[in-house]
Every structure is written in structure tokens, then in C-alpha cells.
Symmetry: C2
DNA sequence: TATTAAATGCAAGTTGTTTGCAAGTAGAAT
DNA sequence: ATTCTACTTGCAAACAACTTGCATTTAATA
């Protein structure tokens, strides 16, 4: 993880390493508050400031390590950007399931070709919202 | 427009009618600030309070007249919910183009079938981000 | 036209996030 | 190992986008 940061011109500070670790252990996207709570549990880092969390999330996002996800919440959720997939979110209990679909990606890749105004598409955000079996 | 509101149990106040009118004339999604600026231009409504805009947007969203859109901005954008489509957003100049694709919708409709945890999907949000011809 | 639940204006509060600045620290250079 | 310096952090204050409480007004119905 240290190299991952240094390669991109970032110093590998304890807070950053811990935050990366928190993300790598999380099975679903998390927000600044959750990162803060988790990092606060580590004795050596218990005094980490919230501003540090926000700044770190921004840095890790802009160098491509983290990806920002739209979950229709009023805070920003992130996850490791290592693989491309989307989410199904339960609007009642917030359960999240990942999914991917290559056919879908193919169609999305072709959309811009048909556009008159757009030249290229770099990213897309796709999230499904519904009810999980428990809540339905 | 009056009936549209009354049918759903809302009073057709001048502010609401004006807000609906602003949306029906806008060719792209807009946020509370833009609605506020536009309604302020109308002499009779120039004193309309921002809280009213926020409350109205919420009401119109929850009764299904407006739809909330994720454009990766830090404010909420809305548009009339009359037809289903998605957006391509230029990350540089914010130009927005609508698109729809029936094949895509079909695939999205089938996703939940393959899911172990989810029973049904009610909505989805899909936005593409890239560069328009001008900015590319 | 009188009634009343719903809508509004105003001011203050909240939430999530950002910023300025002084002090601390990782990593490069000695 | 020590020094240097740009990058990081903590802290407190500022911000933006909303939300809320409450007194007043008003659209819709009777």
C-alpha cells in the first residue's frame, strides 16, 4: 500500500494507510463518517481529525484509488476503484449488492457513438434501487 | 397544472405553479438555486423564500412529478418525471444531453432476476460522464 | 363567505464538507 | 543517522445546501 501511495506522489502516512486498510476490508461502499468511526478505534490513530479523513478521501479519489458512488444519500460514499461494477441498493434497509454485466457495458460503450454532441465518455454511474428479499 | 397538483392533494399555489412552469420550460435538469433565481424574476413572486423552493421540490418529488438526478454536483438537480431517460454530462462545461436505449432498459429489467438478495428493483439511476465535442 | 388544513416567510439550526494556518512528519538528500 | 523541505495534519472557524419551528396567510371546500 505504501508503494501505491508513493508511486502517485503521496506520502504513506499512518492515517492514509489505515484508511486504505479500512476500505480494503469493507465489503460495501462507506462514507467519511464510517471511516472516521473505524479509524478512531485504532489506539494510535484515535485522535485523527475529521478534516484529515475528508482530505484523504479527496486525494485518494483524485489519484484513482477510490471511486465515489451515488447511493442517494446526503453524504458521499466511496469504494476501492479496483474493479468495475455497479450496485443494487435496498431503499429500506440499505443492503447493497454488487453486480456486473458485460452486455450492459458493451451497450454503454456504444452510446456515445450515437450522440451528436458528445465525443467520448470516460465514466458512468449506474445504481439500481429496490427492495431486498427481507424487506419486500 | 392546477389539476395535476390538486389530484395529488396539493394546493395549486402561485409559487408551485411557477416552479412547475420553470421546469416545463427547462431543457435540462436544474437545482434549487436556479429555480430560485428564475422565480425571483417574476414580479409577483419575487419575494418567494428559498425554504419554499426546497419544500416544493421535496413535495413534487415525493408525489412523482419531479425526479431527482445525480449529476455529481454538490446540490440536488431535478427534472420533470414525465419520461424515462438518462443523461450524458460533460465534466468540463456541464453540457447535458439526454439519451434512452430500450435494449439497455431490458437488460436492467432482468438484472434483479439473477440476484440472490434482491426481490425487485423499482428505479435505477444511470448517468454517463465524459467530454462533449467542444471540450474534447 | 366562512372555515380550516395546508402553504409560506422568516430566522435560526443542522449536516456534510472545506479552508487557513501553525505545527508535525515522511522521504529525499546529505 | 541527521537535516531539510514539501507534504500532512489538527484545530477552529467558515461554508453551502438544506431543514425546521412557529406565527401568519391562503387555496379549496362547504
Amino acid at each position: 500500500m505504501k508503494e501505491m501511495l508513493n508511486e502517485r506522489g503521496y506520502k504513506a502516512t499512518p492515517a492514509r494507510l489505515a484508511i486504505l486498510d479500512i476500505f480494503s476490508k469493507s465489503k460495501f461502499p462507506i462514507n467519511a463518517e464510517i471511516v472516521y468511526k473505524n479509524i478512531s478505534k485504532i489506539k494510535a490513530l484515535r485522535k485523527t481529525n475529521e478534516a484529515t479523513i475528508y482530505r484523504t478521501l479527496l486525494s485518494l479519489e483524485s489519484c484513482g484509488i477510490l471511486k465515489r458512488i451515488n447511493l442517494r444519500k446526503n453524504s458521499a460514499y466511496f469504494e476501492l476503484a479496483d474493479d468495475h461494477h455497479h450496485h443494487i441498493v435496498c431503499t429500506k434497509c440499505n443492503e447493497i449488492e454488487d453486480f456486473e454485466n458485460s452486455e450492459l457495458e458493451k451497450i454503454l460503450g456504444g452510446i456515445v457513438v450515437k450522440s451528436s454532441k458528445f465525443k467520448n465518455v470516460r465514466e458512468h454511474s449506474l445504481e439500481l434501487f429496490g427492495l431486498c428479499r427481507m424487506c419486500a
